[in-house]
């Protein structure tokens, strides 16, 4: 199974430096999420987890408004585009149509870029969408109905499943439900 990582996760990992803890907003709340993002990237490097992201993440991570030197640019490229850590899901007509249909079919009224990220994760059959962005997290319950969990990295069952010594059994959500169809008569 695969997880999709939103742009903000990569940016926060790049900002996460013990010497500059004040540079991350709400660090006390986000620190476990960021540490889990790092574990996810490490698991991807070891081949234990598939971490996907869309083309759009590359452009969003290059729009860094602060000072960025050549080595930092190279590191972003290495992590995002080398194929060794993260796998890129390229844009397609199917992603674009799915992004549009979030609004048309399910009344999920996200901005274009947010919808594009979610649609890319759905189109590539990811189980989890990892983000700390409240603008996307507020749609979690609607998107979950489509089969994609929108969560922070420290809530990830996919990460738990690939770390040694953790129980990844999902809890049952209720009793048995049934659908009947009578069929097969010629």
């Amino acid at each position: 199974m695969s997880v999709y990582m939103d742009s903000c996760c990569f940016i926060d990992v790049a900002k996460y430096d013990l010497g500059h803890r004040d540079k991350i907003d709400s660090l006390a709340d986000k620190e476990e999420h960021i540490k889990a993002c790092i574990k996810m990237l490490d698991a991807a490097k070891k081949g234990n987890l598939r971490v996907l992201t869309g083309n759009i993440t590359i452009s969003e991570c290059q729009h860094l408004s602060g000072f960025v030197d050549e080595e930092v640019k190279r590191l972003f490229q290495s992590i995002l585009t080398s194929g060794r850590i993260v796998r890129i899901v390229a844009d397609s007509i199917f992603v674009a149509e799915r992004a549009r249909n979030l609004m048309w079919d399910y009344q999920i009224k996200m901005g274009g870029a947010d919808a594009h990220h979610i649609a890319t994760a759905l189109e590539s059959n990811c189980a989890e969408f990892i983000t700390s962005d409240k603008g996307i997290l507020k749609w979690a319950s609607e998107v979950e109905k489509l089969g994609l969990k929108v969560i922070r990295a420290d809530e990830s069952k996919e990460l738990a499943a690939c770390l040694p010594g953790t129980d990844s059994t999902p809890p049952a959500t209720g009793g048995q439900n049934r659908l009947f169809a009578d069929s097969g008569e010629i």
């Binding site: 900002k15 860094l64 590191l75 290495s78 060794r84 189109e123």
Partner: protein, 263 residues
């Protein structure tokens, strides 16, 4: 007997796909029960612990919509995959023109059949034909992957195995890109980014082939890059928080300004 087995297998596949269309993560199974003597009439029941009553209702609506004899195939609901509709058509593939497959949908409260539909050979062929006519689509796109085979000659192409999908498709190129293709093959593990005109299947939702316009080797990963990446840019978003920065580059502040009164 072969024909009956085939119809049952195709029906089971179709029923599984319709549930996936409503909830990709639903884990359950279709079981057959209430077999009638001397016929192939049976009741298929879906049993799951992860699907909600609302989703059950949606599944029933999706079944009714797909099975309805007058559903417009050209403007089919985007909530149901084209591959699901094609699978429905496949159920009647083995039958003769004068035969038909009958379906009855249960009312979920009364537990009795309240809606009946017929899939004829003619309707099955109509669905297949219309889907085939509108299946192919072309767009300019790209892909990340590794080259797993090269074919020279009059129609040079290579097979690109996409990293995220782990499936390959042929990429055709002209000989002015030959050196770049060879460069990509110098190292067995080189990852490439290719861009060009993609021919894709709407039903399968994946590329069939690409006419390559550009090919570049990906930035290599150097040992230790991940460790260096952590904390490499503490000032990456300047004075903004990450969330504010993301909202800004995604244009949400403009959206608010255009759609709502701002303070």
């Amino acid at each position: 007997m072969d024909k009956l087995a085939e119809i049952t297998a195709e029906t089971e596949r179709f029923l599984r796909m319709i549930v996936e269309d409503i909830s990709r993560r639903a884990t359950g199974k279709w079981i057959a029960r209430d077999f009638e003597n001397n016929s192939v009439d049976f009741t298929a029941a879906y049993i799951s612990e992860t699907i909600t009553p609302e989703q059950i209702q949606e599944c029933r609506q999706a079944l009714a919509y797909t099975m309805r004899e007058d559903t417009d195939i050209e403007h089919f609901s985007s909530k149901i995959r084209r591959s699901t509709l094609l699978q429905y058509a496949k159920i009647a593939k083995p039958i003769a023109p004068d035969e038909a497959v009958h379906f009855g949908l249960f009312d979920l409260d009364k537990e009795q059949v309240t809606e009946r539909h017929i899939l004829s050979k003619e309707r099955s062929l109509e669905i297949e034909g219309r889907l085939q006519l509108t299946d192919r689509i072309q767009y300019d796109g790209s892909a990340q992957g590794t080259i797993i085979a090269l074919f020279k000659g009059n129609n040079p192409h290579f097979r690109l195995r996409e990293l995220h999908r782990e499936e390959w498709f042929p990429c055709y190129f002209s000989y002015n890109l030959y050196d770049k293709v060879i460069h990509a093959l110098e190292n067995a593990y080189t990852v490439v980014h290719v861009a060009g005109t993609v021919l894709a299947s709407r039903t399968e939702r994946k590329p069939i082939s690409m006419q390559v316009k550009r090919i570049e080797n990906a930035e290599p990963y150097l040992e230790g890059d991940l460790e260096k990446f952590v904390g490499c840019a503490p000032h990456a978003t300047g004075d903004s928080s990450t969330e504010k920065f993301i909202r800004l580059i995604r244009g949400h502040e403009e959206l608010v300004g255009n759609g709502e009164e701002t303070q």
